[in-house]
Symmetry: C2
Subunit: 147 residues, 2 copies
Amino acid sequence: MLFYEDLEIGKVSKFGSYAVTRAEMIEFASKYDPQAFHLDDEAAAQTHFGRLSASGWHTCAMMMAMLVENIQATEQAGLGSPGIDNLRWIKPVFAGDILRCESETTSKRRSKSRPEMGIFKTRTVVYNQNDKPVLTMESNGLIKVRE
Amino acid sequence: MLFYEDLEIGKVSKFGSYAVTRAEMIEFASKYDPQAFHLDDEAAAQTHFGRLSASGWHTCAMMMAMLVENIQATEQAGLGSPGIDNLRWIKPVFAGDILRCESETTSKRRSKSRPEMGIFKTRTVVYNQNDKPVLTMESNGLIKVRE
């Protein structure tokens, strides 16, 4: 298992490959973000998006799927997250895009109120297949202390 | 339609009612956040969450469903969002919870690069049925200018 003590500041991890499909985009948007420009080609063409794009929250969900796969592959003793700073949807995500992630651990400290936990900050960038960033965020993570 | 010109700084809107179900929590987590404490009662009981809770991104998605319902009910000429600041998951969301939202418009300005758009900031709090905040965020929204 990878614990708080093992987190290396400045270490960049590259992981994930998520193929965005039109069917999944529309399924997510129908349920959680049914704005016309996430559901309808013609409505999307009339906006600054240009064509049908994924809900920003769907992009977050797809990123999380990649993050969790990486947490599990690297056996991180993660305990969830209290929150996110500076979440930015930089470019629209389209059907056919292939997303991937790069994450850098930027800081870490022991929790004062819960000494069995550490708190760490990560900067994550989601790229598309053209190596263009589509989403950036800074997340706060909780992780078990080894001792 | 409600345009940029109609946004009132300091106005608080209360809206939404979202019943959280165990089936939906597990469906979302299976797809996008398959950490044991979002899927399995026993694993959840062993963490600081205490019992099975919704993925934080699922809470965001449920909030967005309420936000979009309100955008459409009030006929806001919304054009999506460039991002979110200070997203915080304050309390776990459990099956059986009923969520609702309060949003306050905190600032607005015309876009310099795209004069047909305005940019506004909103502070949103998601409450559970006990009037406890479970999520807070500050969002940046784009909206059409009337003229």
